[in-house]
Amino acid sequence: MTMQAASTEIASRTAAIIDEMKGLEGPLLPILHSIQEEFGHVPKDALPVIADGLNLSRAEVHGVVSFYHDFRAKPAGRHVLKLCQAEACQSMGSDAVAAKVKQLLGIDFHETARDGSVTLEPVYCLGLCACSPSAMLDGEVIGRLDDEKIEEIVAEVRS
């Protein structure tokens, strides 16, 4: 697909999402979540379409997208691994867990492995504070991380 065609494709799929949701009260966040679900990230080419559809300036839309940690500017890896780094997990050694995972995957937080297998992110609390240290792999929750569980996770994202 040429760049031009890809951008037209994004615009038309974005427009369909906007049409479906713009009747909501305060529709921008639900629209952005849907776009991210559709494309795996919020493509730059979608922003002017949203601005037109909701009668906002492009700057306003950019301001909202860039404010929230969840919205990605580019696609994530095939797996997304989030490690909780908040206080309850700190008290149970989340620092050491993060160091080990980074070493095994060869990437730092906010990075994606070269082969596109996994994106590693910190998260500040998953509400699993009585089962620390905790993590979320592709939306599935994992508690009481230990060496064995870390190795299982690494093997899974690599497979």
């Binding site: 529709p27 921008l28 966040l29 979540h33 509400g127 504070c129 089962c131 979320m136 994992i142 508690g143």
Partner: protein, 518 residues
């Protein structure tokens, strides 16, 4: 009767392997040709026993936990479907000391049944509060909530009834009920547990709030880190709508009330009420200056009740059993019960709902059973990332809004994180500043810039560069942040920082001296 097996589908239980346990039980049932009904309940909150599997027997429920998939064969061999003995046997769940010692009002039903069974909800007293409310004048509902002494459980502790009265008294063609389910504080999971384990109690509480104030539309703003809570709430709202609990005629009354579930996008600051309102409107989650109060100009500029999940979920029992019943629990100006969330380095972590007034020491030593690591307790952070660190010397502090304030702390959303003696309090103080820098909405200078400067100055202290002078600078900076910030993020970040410096000065000594001392 076909045996019934209860396996929690609460996130905490899932994180500890409940799904694998459920699969292993299904497989075992099939292999043995035994018929049984599996119910996926919520969690009762004793996470040190999760996954806790229960079986309904002639003599009532019998619990087993923590169950591993490898236990399943021997459980069946021990006759667990009839409550047989096994090394994981815990007996009747309500006799387990951690659960038996609690006073469950808000969490009375949580973890007992299938959270999406409206019949089960009604069989345990559900909807009685709403039934009473629809038969009353709105002002009387507000009066009952005010008299119960219920205060905002999100952290600020503002009297719920007074907030409602302001909205009731403010004219508006459209009013809203907004539920703050952006439970971002580390050590807190009460909102998540109730949404996953007893969603109808929140829906009922919101409908009562709507009837009491004349609001016809509600929103629950749930953080995106809680996908299971989002899914359960969405299903529960659809069921409630179908059953006439929500809609144009709530429980057949002339009152209309409906609601929507909305999902946040990973911004901690959106737990602050005005920033949450901006986010719901589709804007950046930037804090608004008050006044105007949200009760007067809230969502889309309309009069809005914005309450925490636990505040709203505590309303049905108040409307069912009366203000006096609820008010009888507690101490001083802190009335009723509070779900204390025991987290971090503890032997017995989980949710412990109790009347206000237990001391911090009782919670940490007796109920939590000390640290998981077996090492001495060094510090306990009460109230999440913006709460103070308490040393053992302050363990006599009773769990009460005012008593914690007197000791330069706060109870916040009632999460407590226990640290053992390996904790480095300088590192914790630095993290508090770093977290504030990551999550600041950027609106006010003390928070936006102060947090970054705080990290830099604390790094200098850690490096032993003019430690005394730099600690004085941090103290001054905290003072500016505390009094100069618009909201609790910048305003309360000084609590963990200053309490670390005050109570654990040895951790802030210059590096060479710290090495020499060891």
């Amino acid at each position: 009767m076909i045996p019934r097996i209860y396996i929690p589908a609460d996130s905490g239980a899932l994180a500890l392997g409940a799904e694998k346990v459920a699969k292993a039980i299904e497989k075992e049932l099939q292999e043995r040709g035994v018929e049984a009904k599996i119910v996926r309940n919520g969690s009762r909150g004793a996470y040190f026993l999760e996954p806790m599997v229960e079986v309904a027997t002639d003599k009532g429920r019998v619990a087993y936990g923590p169950v591993k998939p490898s236990d399943i064969k021997s459980l069946f061999d021990s006759g667990f479907l009839t409550g047989g003995h096994h090394k994981r046997w815990l007996g009747a769940p309500d006799k387990i000391p951690f659960l038996a010692k609690q006073t469950r009002l808000t969490f009375a039903r949580c973890g007992i049944n299938d959270p999406l069974s409206l019949d089960a909800y009604k069989s345990l007293g559900g909807l009685r509060g709403l039934q009473n409310a629809v038969a009353m004048a709105p002002a009387d509902v507000v009066k009952q909530v005010t008299e119960s002494g219920l205060r905002g459980r999100g952290g600020a502790g503002f009297p719920t009834g007074i907030k409602w009265k302001t909205v009731l008294d403010t004219a508006g063609a459209q009013k809203y009920i907004v539920c703050n389910a952006d439970e971002g504080d580390s050590a807190t999971f009460a909102d998540r547990m109730i949404m996953e384990g007893d969603p109808f109690v929140l829906i009922e509480g919101m409908a009562i709030a709507g009837i009491a104030t004349g609001a016809t539309k509600g929103f629950v703003y749930i953080r995106s880190e809680y996908p299971h809570a989002v899914a359960t709430m969405n299903k529960a709202v659809a069921i409630a709508r179908k059953a006439g609990v929500l809609g144009l005629n709530v429980l057949g009354s002339p009152n209309a009330f409906d609601m929507e579930i909305r999902v946040g996008a990973g911004a901690y600051v959106c737990g602050e009420e005005t920033s949450l309102l901006n986010s719901l409107e589709g804007k950046r989650g930037v804090v608004r200056a008050k006044p105007p109060l949200p009760a007067i100009q809230g969502l889309f500029g309309k009069p809005t009740v914005i309450n925490n999940v636990i505040s709203l979920a505590s309303v049905p029992i108040i409307m069912d059993k009366g203000a006096a019943y609820y008010k009888d629990f507690g101490m001083g100006r802190s009335r009723g019960t509070i779900p204390i969330q025991i987290a971090g380095n503890v032997k017995q972590g989980g949710l412990f709902e109790t009347a206000f007034g237990l001391t911090l020491g009782e919670i940490v030593d007796d109920i939590a059973g000390g640290t998981a690591s077996g090492r001495p307790v060094k510090a306990v952070q009460v109230g999440g990332p913006l709460g103070a660190y308490f040393p053992r010397a302050l363990f006599d502090t009773p769990f009460d809004y005012e008593e914690f304030a007197k000791r330069d702390g706060l109870i916040g959303h009632a999460g407590i994180t226990v640290f053992d003696d390996t904790a480095d309090m300088l590192k914790q103080a630095r993290f508090a500043m770093e977290f504030c820098a990551i999550e600041s909405c950027g609106k006010c200078t003390p928070c936006r810039i102060g947090s970054t400067r705080g990290v830099e100055v604390l790094d200098k202290v850690a490096a032993g560069i003019e430690a005394e002078k730099n600690l004085a600078l941090v103290t001054d900076l905290c003072n500016t942040m505390k009094f100069g910030s618009l909201c609790a993020l910048g305003g309360f970040t000084p609590y963990p920082v200053m309490s670390s410096i005050t109570h654990f000065p040895e951790d802030f000594k210059p590096a060479p001296a710290r090495v020499a001392a060891e």
